[in-house]
Symmetry: C2
Subunit: 227 residues, 2 copies
Amino acid sequence: ILRFEAAQRVYGSGEHAVTALGPVSLTVGAGELLAIMGPSGSGKSTLLGLAGALDQPTAGRVLVQGRDLAALSGHALAALRRRAVGYVFQDLNLLPGLTALENVALPLELDGVALPEAREVARAALEQVKLGGLAARFPDDLSGGEQQRVAIARAFVGPRVLLLADEPTGALDSVTGELVLGQLRAACDAGRSAVLVTHDAAHAAWADRVLFLRDGRLVADRPAAVR
Amino acid sequence: ILRFEAAQRVYGSGEHAVTALGPVSLTVGAGELLAIMGPSGSGKSTLLGLAGALDQPTAGRVLVQGRDLAALSGHALAALRRRAVGYVFQDLNLLPGLTALENVALPLELDGVALPEAREVARAALEQVKLGGLAARFPDDLSGGEQQRVAIARAFVGPRVLLLADEPTGALDSVTGELVLGQLRAACDAGRSAVLVTHDAAHAAWADRVLFLRDGRLVADRPAAVR
Ligand SMILES: Nc1ncnc2c1ncn2[C@@H]1O[C@H](COP(=O)(O)OP(=O)(O)OP(=O)(O)O)[C@@H](O)[C@H]1O
Ligand SMILES: Nc1ncnc2c1ncn2[C@@H]1O[C@H](COP(=O)(O)OP(=O)(O)OP(=O)(O)O)[C@@H](O)[C@H]1O
Ligand SMILES: [Mg+2]
Ligand SMILES: [Mg+2]
């Protein structure tokens, strides 16, 4: 589903160049949950940005569903982001002018799903993260953890094959965090693939494999503990 | 330094009323580090907002340095927020048009500290959270955890008597998180007071006391474990 071939990301140039990531090579298969851990600034969000076609590598290749992202048109990339890849961003990226329900329904509507159906699916996704009663709230009227769970619900809706979650439980208490990880695991057991960035070893333990980054480089790749 | 007397916060009214917090009564003495834990949506950020004069209670009283916040003019409240209380917000609130250094220096400059001195103090604060090399970066060019540490540095500068930290380590790896808690502890040992909202029991263990909230109510109040 996802492959990195010596992918690298460098910001700036010359004496100001910052190598945020790489070169990194990795593979994520169908149904696999891959966790990525590492210190602050080690390249985790950068890696997810490349995987999700939100950014391009400075060198090397990133392939999703076997296709090199650099070879896709802007239109094809947008379609991929809209349909195939779900994101939970580190800074959430909820639209403040939309309610929780509308935020979750939006990707479906953008992809042509009729409004009533999009809203129904969105409502079910909010119920799954225990937010059904808050569907009519705007993001500013929700707690930090409630906002995070809206972002999670939005990432899950639709027939996504790849879920990218950047520290999706940072603002959640441990019970709610385990609820979310259980859902991520269930999604993978049902065939989706996911890459989870986390600082929490207990959450990484839900994964099939854990990669460790430091200063943009892979320093370890090991199976997660057997649950 | 901080006292809540049956303080309550209700959003909306009538059938749409949401009791986010309270009634809550509590006291934080000089040099004390108080941790607050609880599930998502239990009222933690709401409590900090009242403590920091960013919001007003619907009922009850909040006193900082013995003064009822409701009795202070807008000017006096602004001065209190600028000088006496440091915040690390859950959504960080960094100004995107300012560099890390400028963000940290800003409260000092607004309070009349001369620019060179403000910048020197800000630089030292960034060094303390291991960000000295990134002082010239804008927030968008920093990782999530680096941004969080800029927010922490900003909260510490100046002669603040009360530090309010809303999940200040959510985006940090464990080593960096412990660094920050160590500094918060050192600030309290030097006489400041702090209220730390955290989901991490290991971080709460740095506190003198831990309060637990659930559905806006205090359900437990116990000494933290001895370190
Ligand atoms: N502006 C608002 N209008 C209505 N309800 C609100 C508003 N802000 C917060 N709430 C509600 O008040 C309750 C407490 O919110 P608060 O942000 O204090 O929770 P929290 O403990 O900080 O949660 P988290 O751990 O998720 O950050 C929640 O149920 C939330 O939905
Ligand atoms: N736009 C940018 N310009 C320059 N440097 C950047 C930019 N974005 C990120 N960086 C740098 O690249 C490195 C990796 O950033 P990245 O956001 O991937 O880290 P991270 O592992 O997600 O960290 P965190 O755990 O703090 O979120 C960091 O050193 C960061 O300062
Ligand atoms: Mg990151
Ligand atoms: Mg909160």
